[in-house]
Amino acid sequence: MRGDTGVLLGLLLVALIFGLLIGPRFFRPANLELMARQTVIVCVAALGMTMVIVSGGIDLSVGSIVALSTVVTALLLRMGMDPALAALGALAAAALCGTVNGLLITRLRVVPFIVTLGTMLLVRGAAKGLAEERRIEAPITWLNGLLRTARDGNLGVPAGVWLTIVLAVLVAGVLGYTRFGRHLFAIGSNERTARLCGVRIDRRKLQVYSLSAAFAGLAGVLEFSRLAVGDPTVGVGLELDVIAAVIIGGGSLSGGKGTVLGTVAGAAIMAVIQIGCSQHGLPNWVQQIVTGIIIVIAVALDRWRQAPTR
């Protein structure tokens, strides 16, 4: 039985419950699209996080990297740079943060939780410094249309959603069908075994943290697209949503487990709860309680299913 069947059933169940509460309008295409748009930012960052968590690590700095990325994008646009280059610049800055994470983890032999807890503050500070603690206004470009509903073309789905789908397929391919992906599972499952088998662990960790940060950078570009400004205070606590998506999706914090489909479904569950609650007129605090319960139930169910049958 595949590890992500459970979370897909969970998604279906949550969607059905809100469908019953709210009625058929909950499933109208426009509403589904709204949910997809809501979920992409968490989802893109969670794709990178899935790889990190599979390798037995964690990255707490993604929320700060998202903020840094919005700032860098806005600054580069204001300098008159081409939007595509501005986005690439933001991605590069983000990837650099990830490389720093990776270097600290592999060279100083400090656990990822502590290293990224440190860089979470460090990157947040850098973003604020870079933006001089202000929001950075930027000229409107096509970047701001990434999450806008396409009236025609794109099959009525925003470009950002398509981008997320393509990336999800790519990451699933990387995890399942490349040496890099299999090495991540090996490192996460038993790092000593991976070392015995000649896996170059430090190199793989450097790669995975850089890659994860680049995904966070892309999430930042999408965030910028929504806000239309560079905001160094955005994305506080976002890393927890991202980690929750991976965990609801069947990822294990002890490593060696996690799927892209599960992560995407995990992110979707959180979006459905968010939108469902607000459309049913439930206040924000109810939504937080429900999400919290879902996280614990998801992990408990996973434990229970995997309990030794002996």
């Binding site: 399942g176 069908y177 490349t178 040496r179 890099f180 992906g181 299999r182 090495h183 599972f185 090996a186 499952s189 038993n190 000593r192 075994t193 991976a194 070392r195 015995l196 088998c197 000649g198 896996v199 170059r200 060696g256 487990k257 049958t309 002996r310």
Partner: protein, 521 residues
Amino acid sequence: MTSGTPRLEMRGVRKAFGATIALDGVDFSVAPGEVCALVGQNGAGKSTLMAVLSGVVRPDSGSMMLEGQPYAPREPIDARAAGVAMIHQELSLAPHLTVMENIALGLEPVRRGLLQWHEMRDTARRALAQLGHEEIVPDAIVADLSPASQQLVEVARALASGSRVLVLDEPTSSLSHGDVQRLFELLERLKSQGMAIVYISHFIEEVQAVSDRVVVLRDGRNVGAGRTRDMPADAIVQLMVGGEVEALYPRSPREPGDVLLELVDLEPGAATLSLRRGEIVGIAGLLGAGRSRLLRTIFGLESVRSGRIRVGVYSGPASPAARWDQGVGMLSENRAGEGLASGLSIADNLTMSRLEELGPGFLVFPSRQASAASRWVDRFAIRSSGPAQAVGELSGGNQQKVALARLLHHDVDLLVLDEPTRGIDVGSKAQIYAVLDALASGHAHEPPQASGTGGEPAIVADRVAVGRPRAVLMVSSYLPELLGLCDRVAVMCRGRLGPVRLASEWTEHSLLMEASGAKAG
């Protein structure tokens, strides 16, 4: 010793897990002042029987009596309260706590909500004195003790909680020779104090040395029992495997070829050694003599301090990744902690060191990974539901075959093996011996037939080893295996590797003398 009422009696114990019948009406008993050995291959039902005894598993049917009273533990704590103590292969101590805290664990003396440290210390001291090991300090931190002393702490815990039945499951697997002797003396002492002891071991020699009675299980049934002195070793082994056992240590003609490994004054290890293709060289020694460290240094898992090392045409130290590229593979002594990623599949574990040819470029096709793995699953007769099964679900012997098959999948020339047969059943051992012999000789021979062991197909060594002879360097604590399988053997003592001599020039006695440093040079 069978006179009087048994302290513990199990009758007709039956337990099925799904379609698999683990225990099919097993009888077992042990009397006060008796050591009863429980032997059988992996999967014979020993562990399940002991799990029933200790309340971890509830039997489908059958009855148990403890001192004539019905005994049906629902939880492990019930067994402990009734006086049944288990001492497992992996010790269950809290390493950061002191000896006395460990001994009192779960039964801490408390008065008005406060811990009574003096009482705790006295209890610990009394229990250790009863074992004749006053030298262990109750205030010492358990992690600082040797494995043998840690085991004593666990026995002391059993005594302190008033145990009347003591079950030891493979108690010697992490002990050196001297510590094994001391353990045996301890068991004698406990016996004279009236303890009923169940002794589980793969080592027939140990069973003969320590037990009064032997009970043999095979495929979940009693297949034989009797007084130890009436049962010679080969009779016990025969009962265990259920058929004729041919030569356990096969020896095909081997022809030494080019030198694959050359060590000159390599530190750590003070090792000077040259190993040729077509040879099996063994390293004996006590636990902690530095044997594993030497192998790990050769393989690049630990750094070379000084001296020369040459592998094939490559001189100097190298990383594990580079060693694999040079045609060297290593098997770790620590199967669960290092050798295998127990959460991953057989296929992932088997191909981890060499994913290169399982797809173009940097791709790995799971289908090719599975088919490569299932070839080895067939060749090694690895009992599993298929290459996708998680390695952690396999028995010890089958896990070890996966770990060894990794080296063959990688097609290495030099196999560096650390305790290749530790903690596995006789059948799997015989298969691994046959494979190693075939690898060293480069040609096939008839595999040992172990018929009647539940239809396990005997390994066909010629399907495993093809073409060229390989070289094997192995560390083992099991002396008969070293003498039976190796061409040449060296002894490591206190971090120094002694001279390598022909296996025929050694005896178990001389190996032990040298290993314990009783004889110079």
